[in-house]
Amino acid sequence: MGHIVELENVNKIYGTNHVVKDLNLTVEEGEFLTLLGSSGCGKTTTLRMIAGFEEPTEGSIKVEGESIEEKEPFERDVNTVFQSYALFPHKTIFDNIAYGLKMKKVPKDEIKERVKEIMKLVQLEGFEKRYPSQLSGGQKQRVAIARALINKPKVLLLDEPLGALDLKLRKQMQLELKRLQKKLNITFIYVTHDQEEALTMSDRIAIMHDGILDQLGTPTEIYESPATKFVATFIGETNIFDGMVSLVNEDDVQVTIENGFISGKAEGFRFGEYITVSVRPEKMKYSDTHVHGFSIVGTVKDYVYVGSVIKCIVALPNGNELKLERLAGQSLPEIGSYIYPYWEKEDAVLIHSRENSIFEALDNITLA
């Protein structure tokens, strides 16, 4: 497996709007990579730069080691599945799918053969003579995917392709897309704002925030050890504590927060620095008595039943709320009772806070 797409120091600036900032990203051949982030984070712009619809203000984009920034979209060996499908309304499904091959002047018999084959693959047999307006959203989606895949692109770019579908169909298409990707062994770069979708489908996820790549990793890495506060809050549910390191004993870190102090295990933190601690609801524990390393106390406020799990809402003295998650059937404290929330120190994720830049700046001044 080699690098198929390489983005080096890619920047995109529209007027005064810096949309993509110093993006470095390498996509491996045959992988399913998701660009994940909220709207306006630069993920779609990044995809459009790879497709050739936008030019990077700075930086280089390589496909199979060859720079492509200067190439027009029609000269690039990548294909796109558009969010709005962008099917040609005046062409039949057959002609829509055959479009790319027709442009490459592939012989007619071969076009017929290949269209037939791909239509079978996406389960659209019998729809050849219909027009896009006669299809449902899910069917249009399949046509859009078939139209792109038939060209055997080096990379398939997908821009929130499932955004317009209802939940049930979306779940089904997620699995189908994943199956197609595995079967054809084509590199997918997939843009979505849906973190669940990203976790389900991707080999690796690149999380973007305000034009910056916050973290790149496998779904497990991103879920278990988020690199920034944004990643921690964006992926799944979590409890966030902002505070300051008040005690460091090797890898044992104690953090003072508004409601007391908490603990975690991590290296590379020093006394006095700002820190964010993230603990997933399913890792949270509680006790009737004081636990070593933790001084926070809360009141059980409410329960929320979410199918197989129960979420327990705990209010802290300053009004902040914590979430504990338990499987249904496990014992839970009564509403109104006081509990001491805690967790295994290994289960907490400790994140350097961005506010430390001020701290470091002050440090440098004293040194100078």
Partner: protein, 292 residues
């Protein structure tokens, strides 16, 4: 009970409707429908030796209209209209494309360039062309000044001059529907086409033109039909050598003073128009974009 209910309904629905639609109906009735019926009747009338209208039924006016002299002018008129339409498409399409795809303030400016000439009477603008193109006009003066020609070039009173005037007068009617059609075009379709390997020219013929054909179509109708009737353009720029159907009608009503024959010609022109619009509709044209 029943009666008061219907009275209430009359007040609530019928009365406002009548107030709203009434005046327009009256205007249309007296200024469009009645004159049309009158023209229809007149086309079936005879004239006496002094060309006074005699209300006596005859088909002789229509019989006259199939003489070779008239047929020649119909053909000439259709050809002028055809070339005018083709030139309007060729000039109007790129311009409309640019306006539709330009963003921000420039767009308004370009749009105004099309609209502003409308605010001046077209007769005056056509006279302007005659002055501009005449043997002592600006263009010839300029050509001689630059020593491109020694003598003034004879530019007036040719079929080409009439077509030029027609294009000038009618091109906004081509640009506006084209603009509407092109603006509706989804940019992602163009991106998709390019993404699938189509060069710009291919995208033009495979995607852009087919998807804006409705605009080309309604623009053509709106140029072609008036072109058959714009007699003043041919009068001023064609000098009587490039008659269109409109000229024949004008002549019968004015110099020849044969109103029944003029009426018959008018009816023919109306029928030609109706046939063209019907064809347009049959081919799937949108009546709304004609302003009908």
């Amino acid at each position: 009970m029943e009666k008061s209910h219907s009275k209430h309904e009359w007040r609530a629905n019928t009365l406002p409707a009548m107030v709203m639609v009434g005046p327009v109906t009256l205007v249309l009735l007296f200024l469009v429908v009645a004159p049309l019926i009158f023209v229809g009747i007149m086309s079936l009338c005879k004239t006496d030796e002094y060309y006074n209208v005699v209300y006596d039924f005859t088909l002789v006016n229509y019989a006259k209209l199939i003489s070779p002299d008239y047929l020649k002018i119909y053909l000439q008129s259709l050809l002028i209209a055809f070339f005018t339409t083709v030139i309007c498409i060729l000039l109007g399409y790129p311009f409309s494309y640019i306006i539709a795809r330009t963003k921000s303030k420039k767009k308004t400016l370009l749009y105004m360039l099309v609209i502003i000439p409308f605010w001046t009477n077209s007769l005056i603008r056509i006279y302007g062309w005659r002055t501009f193109l005449g043997s002592s006009g600006w263009l010839n003066s300029l050509l001689m000044l630059l020593h491109i020609t020694k003598e003034p070039v004879d530019m007036l009173y040719k079929t080409g001059t009439t077509i030029l005037g027609m294009v000038y007068c009618l091109i906004p009617f081509m640009i506006l529907p084209l603009y509407t059609a092109i603006e509706k075009l989804d940019t992602s379709l163009l991106e998709a086409s390019s993404d699938l390997g189509a060069k710009p020219v291919k995208t033009l013929f495979e995607v852009i033109i087919p998807l804006t054909s409705s605009g080309i179509f309604s623009g053509s109708i709106m140029v072609f039909i008036p072109c058959l009737g714009y007699f003043f353009v041919s009068n001023i720029l064609g000098g009587g050598n490039t008659d269109v159907i409109g000229n024949l009608i004008e002549r019968q009503f004015k110099s020849a003073n044969n109103w029944p024959l003029g009426a018959a010609l008018s009816i023919i022109l109306i029928l030609v128009t109706l046939v063209l619009v019907k064809i347009y509709q049959k081919l799937g044209g949108d009546m709304d974009s004609l302003g009908v």
